[in-house]
Amino acid sequence: MSTDLDQMITAGLRAQSQAVPDAGFSRAVAERVAAVRKRRRLARLIPGLFAAIGTAVVLLFQVQWAALPGEISNLAASIPEVQLPQWTQLAYAPAPLIPMWAWAGLVVALFAAGSSAIRSSES
């Protein structure tokens, strides 16, 4: 059986539940909800953005595949000739034409010089 105190408790709790003043609460929630809504709109753009980027990449590659033979030719043509440094040119230069008698004279001279050096060291 419901007593007066029961009714007072119920009425008191009910009054308290209905009497919390807004005091800017709804506006604060509205601002946060607006931020969520904005993020959602941006998030909705992301799949479209990825699709656009993907399409652009595919198209770009298709264009490059089509133009590949021409591009290779252009690339080959654009390779500069290798310029070696000066000293390498000297090393790679063909040997001067020396007559056989000069080579023989050089060998005899070197042999005589070597023999003379050995003899002088032995004495």
Binding site: I9, L13, F25, V29
Partner: protein, 176 residues
């Protein structure tokens, strides 16, 4: 305009005014529940209430309409509060909430609502939640069980025990 119409407008047109209307309609009971749960911690209850409505907005599509919208909001608010008290410091703060505090009849003041508030604060957490929902918001025991994710029998026990404790605490007002 009914809740169902407002919810439909939010879902179909993303109508901000429709959701604002829902917030204005239910801010008081949701904040009252959280004020009770947080023992009148105004800033914390408002923060949790904001999180509650934000969560409601995010997951509005999952609201099936098989319970009242207020019940659904209360369940989100209660979960938000439980998540809060699971943090280490908050658990210490609400340690005695699980069992309530020792019951001593309130010294009667001239304001019944003030005494009622003090008496409510001495109840355990589930008793406060059940009484706020069942007596304050007019929820049925089934709705309170849904909102608090508790078995129906447990809700009935909390309601009965909480009410008896309140009557004991407010006995000075018995023959007012």
């Amino acid at each position: 305009m009914t809740d169902a119409v407002l919810i439909a407008r939010v879902l179909t047109d993303d109508d901000p005014q429709a959701f604002d209307e829902l917030v204005e309609r239910y801010q008081s009971p949701v904040r009252a529940l959280l004020l009770r749960l947080t023992r009148s911690n105004q800033s914390l209850s408002d923060e949790l209430a904001q999180d509650t409505f934000l969560q409601a907005y995010r997951s509005l599509r999952s609201f099936k309409g098989d319970a009242r919208f207020s019940t659904w909001l209360h369940s989100i608010a209660y979960r938000a509060f439980l998540v809060h008290i699971r943090s280490q410091r908050a658990t210490e703060q609400y340690e005695d909430d699980l069992h309530g505090t020792a019951i001593e009849p309130c010294t009667r003041t001239s304001d019944f609502n003030h005494d009622l508030e003090l008496a409510m604060q001495s109840l355990s957490l589930p008793e406060r939640a059940v009484l706020t929902l069942c007596l304050g918001d007019g929820c049925t025991h089934e709705e309170a069980a849904t909102a608090l994710n508790l078995p129906l029998g447990t809700v009935k026990t909390h309601a009965s025990r909480g009410r008896e404790k309140l009557k004991a605490l407010l006995s000075e007002w018995q023959n007012a």
